[in-house]
Subunit: 379 residues, 2 copies
């Protein structure tokens, strides 16, 4: 068996490289195919080099199945710095005009889209057309139709689409879900969750054209999504109110506060709060017939902590206090690891585009209920 | 000046006794009017001798302006024990049939109604007709029309009506209100509050005919009322959901869970939760442009704790952690003290019947919104 580097990259994308790696390396021999530590790793092209991409790149470096192989940026100098840091060859630096050429870059199996929300759809679709798997930040898009077009494009291209809901991969959040699924809390009855922050006046999040919506879009989505993964259910009723300080120049384009209540089919009722007007702890608290659990903070990049108290069927009273000692960017490591596994083993990601579009629809419903006209385009 | 005991009691009810006490005692002389430590104290008839009345009686004992002077109970033996404990003469023990005779008991200026909710209206009205001031437990009544009839009866009789919203008198709750009013948090934007407990199957609270409603009526009202005293505003929009485990025999007559969201005129949005299905910390958390404060627990009889963090206009970052060392039943002491002051000084109580009926109307709105048919009679 003789394989070129290009052949190997193809196998890698097909998820066979990891499986075949030992025999490939042996048959290729040290000269034609050096036993590189990158063998079998999914190569990512990072699209957008902002803060979130820094975290994701750091996450990738913690994995054994992922690596940064290309960059897309509008700032050549910044891209050059990144290229040096991550060992990306000069020819694998793209800009927003020519990024479609990643199609021909065999070191790229997937893209990570860390752009402002309104750009998610365009770059997901262009990446899919280039034949690359797509890991796209949340919220998935600015509108539901955009999200639909992203799913359609990835389906048509036969590439995977994962929305970067990092809490689905993060250990403390998973521990909360596990406790609930194992029945520790008995029948779950209610959830309280909030997440917000005081937004800097210069933040792109305050620009409707870039952000798509306000705090509900950016951080409230964590509460919404948490209620869904904690219950394993979809909300069947949503009611919401919103308010915006008309005197605060930050909020000319997006809303300031949103509070909403949801009812799930099993009877779980949930209340959520989000804001760009004050620093609001990101947390959730779940109550059931046997006890409660809280994760606070729940959505931060590290320092998460689970506390719980519940009575077991044998009468024993359990109290948990589980701080998570993992450090930033471990969320991103776990997330990257999952998507790369899906790529390598041809599996469906846990948080697909369908998961993302559900939140988009609920967000639309929250904005509708609250009468927020600039919350999300109805189109 | 010569005054009989009856004259003195009249003065006491008019709020003049305290003021005149020294000269009265001197003019009456030791023989006709002994200088009793009870001079000038408001005499209370306790109606219903359950747990809450025990707490209130303990509260009275901590005051210098209140005393227990009569009892109404359906259990003669229990009443006799209470009479001995509080120094109530045998002739001042009444039952539910003959309690109207308190009219002629000059040692009684006020009643405290610690009965199940559905009995509040009847005993408030009978007490008013007997010419006694009324301190009635919350929730004020089972229905809005009942509450209206209570206010009308007290107005007609020219007696004061106070609803026993103890948190309006409790120091940590007042401290939270003070911080907010003083602008420590800046512009308040949102509130989260919850209160619930796992209700014992034998509790009268589960009987619609006695309780009038479920957890919203009994404990959710604390969250509702807190949102009102924290903002100093009335909610202009309310939306709610409720759920009840049909398989739980406790919830045949009242609801199990209620979650609701409110919007206040200034733009404050609030989310609240209540339940009889699990033990849910009673707390509130308030967010503003300059910081946040939390009282947790907020509604317990003691052990309250305020924490807060906010940035002052001079840039200084303030962090507060203020546990309340006062012990049960200090809430009731402060509450009794306030009502007695109002009686003695002919002032209007802070928490009038109008305050109580507002909550009744909002509760009705929450039940309507949530579609809880047995929540509160619409009549």
């Amino acid at each position: 068996m003789h394989l070129s580097r290009r052949d190997f990259a193809k196998l890698s994308a097909l998820g066979l490289a990891a499986q075949l790696a030992p025999q490939l390396n042996s048959s290729l021999g040290a000269q034609t195919m050096p036993a590189s530590p990158d063998s079998g790793k999914v190569g990512y092209c990072l699209i957008g080099l902002g803060r979130i991409s820094t975290l994701f790149a750091g996450g990738i470096q913690g994995t054994t199945n992922s690596r940064v192989t290309a960059l897309v940026s509008g700032h050549p100098e910044k891209a050059a710095q990144w290229a040096e840091k991550y060992g990306v060859p000069r020819e694998s630096i793209y800009n927003y005009e020519n990024m479609d050429a990643i199609r021909d870059n065999k070191a790229v199996q997937a893209v990570y889209i860390g752009l402002p929300n309104s750009m998610h759809a365009e770059y997901t679709i262009r990446s899919a057309k280039a034949g690359k798997h797509v890991l796209c930040e949340k919220p998935m898009a600015s509108t539901v139709p955009e999200a639909e077009s992203m799913i359609a494009a990835c389906d048509k291209a036969g590439v995977k689409l994962m929305i970067a809901y990092r809490c689905h991969y993060e250990t403390t959040n998973l521990r909360a879900v596990q406790l609930i699924r194992n029945g520790a809390l008995g029948k779950v009855q209610s959830i309280q969750s909030a997440f917000g922050f005081s937004c800097d006046p210069s933040d792109w999040r305050l620009k409707k054209a870039l952000a798509g919506g306000g705090p509900l879009f950016d951080v409230g989505i964590y509460c919404l999504n948490a209620c869904r993964y904690l219950t394993g259910e979809e909300p069947e009723h949503i009611a919401a109110y919103s308010s915006t300080d008309a005197g605060d120049p930050r909020f000319r384009e997006v809303e300031e506060n949103v509070a909403w209540v949801m009812r799930f089919p099993s009877g779980v009722v949930a209340t959520c709060n989000t804001t760009y007007g004050s620093n609001m702890d990101g947390y959730f608290r779940v109550y059931g017939t046997k006890g409660w659990l809280e994760v606070n903070p729940a959505f931060s990049y590290d320092g998460l902590r689970l506390t719980a108290a519940y009575r077991q069927d044998d009468g024993k009273y359990i109290q948990l206090d589980e701080p998570n000692a993992e450090k930033i960017p471990y969320h991103f490591k776990l997330e990257a690891n999952h998507f790369s596994q899906c790529v390598l083993e041809n599996k469906t990601p846990k948080t697909t585009g369908e998961e993302g579009i559900r939140d988009m629809r609920y967000i639309r419903e929250i904005y509708r209920s609250a009468g927020v006209k600039n919350g999300i385009s109805e189109a």
